[in-house]
Symmetry: C2
């Protein structure tokens, strides 16, 4: 006996009757995609067509509908799970995914993150406190210069040495050359400090070379990978997370996914996309634009993401939310009060302003996060 | 001397000064992602940082900005091209991609569709006239029943026997079993009619199995593949289009991509996504929801897609627009007047209403499209 997979949507409709009509249409659209009167009786009508499990008003013109789907609609593969969750319905205005529950049957197939918060803290040897990830950039800089920045950051005690998502496979610092140089730089710093900073390059390449590049990065000494599911597909993230020959923590970057959350009437909520969906696909760390930076995410949206990433009831083990931008020594105390301690702060472009004193800036931030001093 | 790659965006801003500030911020955001005052002089400032090539008002609160990027920002890979085009900027409200021009340097790398309209017409032996693609479904039906529908459609003279995007790798009709059965059914019909209908299964599977599944489908007799870039990533489509060992026409399906076009203030325009981007990634056929069906696309949006798909100045060879839904014998004359003849009409769920007489419905539609009779 299999348990069904369910998705909760926000539907925009004039009234409850119209919302029900929409939910009924979705139950067909997302499964058989044929009119109700020609759905074959028996297995298809009883099992395959989605069921409306709940439908209630949220506020004026907004309704909340939970539809359940058969595990048989999905099979064993993530692309088809997403297809069933929000394939064609994504093309109809006024439907937003609020969240989903895998159910027992589908849960057996999708295990979520391989490391999660606890696994990452063990690797980083940092059992508590906010975590720090300087971002190595800019695009166009030569490999040696990037390696020098990475070295200084690791030497200062940064936890994750993260590459900018804009460093790909460019002539100025090709992926493989960069992996080797930066992994060595971070290893050298770790040897000097006795620390355990993890270098996470942006996994770049084509569909043909991506997996080989991941293995190359691991062999070169990378301690994790930055992966962009909006560019590569969520199933690539899952593949990397499940690959026993790789075994590296994965950081998911939100590039190209903006439209999936920005509109109030389509796509996913911030928590559903950067929390639930990233956990489903196996991310250990979910990056999102922090409140107060160059992006418009609100405090509530950021907290929703952090909550979904760390929810003990979510898919697999809890993962680290990783707000990018908006963090500084001045704001560290406020950020800490907002997010708590299970969080990885990305320190972006403004960190580079410190030039050769970049390490000092990281050490100062660490002191605030560890509570040995307070922010400005 | 390399030529730059350029992207035209619609920016939402209060006035021209604010629009310029936004464009300047994007020039950094999409490349170096560091503040202007710390951009290294020389190569990075002069070549890597994007340039504002044009900026003008469109209408109240809307501006059109063209930014150019160095081919060095991209390297040779499609994911990074998309990352540069609309990676982080996708996460900022009020920016929409209107179109892009590869420029001579990047054009050498991305050739577009392998077949296009002319190549498909040659394979189909249908040099002119609107083309017909019945959609084989529903999900949950057994393989033999699906094969029977495919047989009847091919026997009646359909051009492309397209699988529903909801047929994946489910227990009721697993991908490989289905490929073999439907390819045989279509081959049998072709042998009887002397026709050249192409069977195009939905390429399903995981990241691990996808490519093998594509080869399997080809070996089984598939004449093309339905590919979902919103689920698999645009670079998978490109990989399949460029693979000389595969050599099959590719049909791109819009599943999960709705949010990328539905909001007026983020994502892509309909023409940029379902025209330009699909051509860039190598689709031969671009499916989109037709006006008048269950989706809200307007006549203008559909025509914009068709125009971009067929524009002789676009990337690679012109490709076939493929409106789904909204087509019937009654509307065939109107559709023909709207789209002209280089178009592949998807005939969806309502076609199944004809049951055993499905072939008759296809033959009637063919007569209208060939001008030997007129629609109702």
């Amino acid at each position: 006996m299999s348990t069904r997979f369910s998705v909760t949507y926000r539907l925009f409709a004039a009234d409850l009757a119209q919302a029900r009509t929409r939910a009924e249409a979705m139950a067909l659209e997302q499964t058989v995609e044929i009119p109700a009167d020609i759905v074959p009786a028996g297995y298809i009508a009883a099992e395959i067509v989605a069921r409306i499990e709940a439908l209630q008003p949220e506020s004026h013109g907004r309704f909340r509908a939970t539809l359940s789907y058969s595990p048989d609609s999905i099979g064993a593969e993530l692309p088809q799970l997403l297809n069933v969750m929000f394939g064609n319905s994504s093309l109809q205005p006024g439907i937003k995914v609020l969240g989903f529950a895998l159910g027992e049957t589908v849960s057996k197939r999708f295990k979520g993150a391989a490391f999660g918060i606890q696994g990452l803290r063990a690797l980083l040897r940092r059992p508590r406190g906010g975590l720090i990830a300087p971002v190595i950039k800019p695009q166009g800089l030569a490999t040696e210069a990037l390696a020098e920045i990475a070295y200084r950051c690791a030497l200062a005690g940064a936890d994750v040495i993260k590459e900018d998502h804009g460093l790909a496979n460019q002539p100025s610092a090709p992926f493989r050359q960069r992996c080797e140089a930066l992994a060595q730089a971070v290893a050298r710093a770790n040897a000097e400090t006795g620390g355990a900073a993890l270098y996470m390059p942006h996994l770049s390449g084509s569909a043909e070379t991506l997996l080989d590049n991941a293995y190359f990065a691991k062999a070169a000494g990378a301690g994790g990978l930055l992966v962009i599911p909006g560019l590569l597909g969520f199933d690539r993230l899952r593949q990397l997370a499940e690959d026993p020959a790789l075994g590296l923590p994965l950081m998911a970057h939100p590039s190209l996914l903006g439209a999936q959350v920005l509109s109030p009437t389509t796509g996913f909520t911030h928590g559903a996309l950067f929390g639930d969906l990233m956990r489903l696909a196996g991310a250990d760390i979910s990056i999102f634009p922090n409140v107060g930076g160059r992006f418009g995410f609100t405090r509530e949206q950021c907290l929703e993401i952090a909550t979904r990433c760390r929810d003990p009831q979510g898919i697999g083990v809890p993962i680290l939310p990783s707000p990018g931008g908006g963090m500084s020594i001045e704001r560290a105390t406020e950020m800490q009060a907002m997010y708590g301690e299970d969080v990885l702060y990305l320190l972006g472009g403004s960190l580079l302003r410190h030039g050769k004193h970049i390490g000092k800036a990281i050490q100062n931030l660490r002191r605030v996060l560890d509570g040995t001093t307070t922010g400005g």
